[in-house]
Symmetry: C2
Subunit: 149 residues, 2 copies
DNA sequence: TAAATATAGTTGCTTTTGTCAACTATATTT
DNA sequence: AAATATAGTTGACAAAAGCAACTATATTTA
């Protein structure tokens, strides 16, 4: 019984991996998925967020993140300001350029989803979104955490 | 209205990316996600499947796949037999070892899902699976295809 | 049926992505 | 003030993925 459920969940994960892959492919090659995820978080945290915060949130290696952030700085996508309480850390924010670029990315990705959805009826779309919300809300009550290795 | 839907779908994709990441992380470092996906397909295609089939199905680069298959051969996870109608292609199958190893992998991944689910009620689990099936069946009626770049 | 074109898979080379460990600077704890 | 912890950086490296040229076979076409 539970085995059955697990098998279905695994099947869904595999399937959805490819869905995400197809949609992300479209995200265009200027940024990696990781980079987009970082930009996403910064975009939605306009008050600023530290590198450690991103590491925690997105489960990234700090060295890796550090380099990505450096490249963002070089491209002037972000701005850093040092925390004057704790001089080891910096608050990161998207610059105006960064916000613009991120919005454009969003649009591209959006268009691909529009394309994907174009073959669905309004009702199917509503169902789809409903299912997604259902999954999120159930999983968010679970104790799925990054650090439980 | 539709914008709203798109935003939700994108949010779900981001969220679910991390769910999959967390579950896959557990898949242990012996095989990459791509390798596991390949093994999965071969496992469920006991009659044999060609490299081209895998490329099509999983949207892989043929050079990359070729090397992965070679490593599988070296580890004796798969067996190849040449198609005698078309000598350019080979049917690929998991060997007994390959099947065993894949099953073990499945178990590991299964356990992680059990863990994830352990904090959910039976009813929540049913709902979760129901939503997943809903998404899959809706998307499968859509025209999402690899080759629409 | 010979020449042209297409397809399956391989190989060399490169790029991208990610990991690990050591290190600097600052903070916190004892 | 010494020991320990944390934020972020850097160097070295490994794993994952992509690209293009190539070989061998198949298929199409003139």
């Amino acid at each position: 019984m539970i085995d059955e459920n697990i098998a279905q969940i695994r099947a869904f994960n595999r399937y959805y991996t490819s869905v995400i892959g197809l949609l992300d492919k479209y995200l265009n090659s200027d940024f990696s998925l990781t980079e987009v995820r970082i930009m996403y978080e910064l975009y939605h945290y306009p008050q600023g967020m530290t590198a450690s915060g991103l590491i925690e949130l997105l489960n990234l290696d700090k060295g890796y993140l550090s380099r990505i952030l450096r490249s963002f700085e070089k491209k002037q996508l972000i701005e850093k300001r040092q925390d004057n309480k704790d001089k080891r850390s910096y608050y990161l924010q998207l610059s105006e350029t960064g916000k613009t670029i991120f919005s454009e990315l969003s649009n591209t990705s959006q268009q691909k989803i529009v394309h994907l959805l174009s073959s669905l009826s309004d009702e199917q779309i509503n169902e789809l979104v409903g299912h997604m919300n259902g999954i999120s809300s159930i999983l968010k009550t679970s104790n799925l955490k990054k650090n439980e290795k």
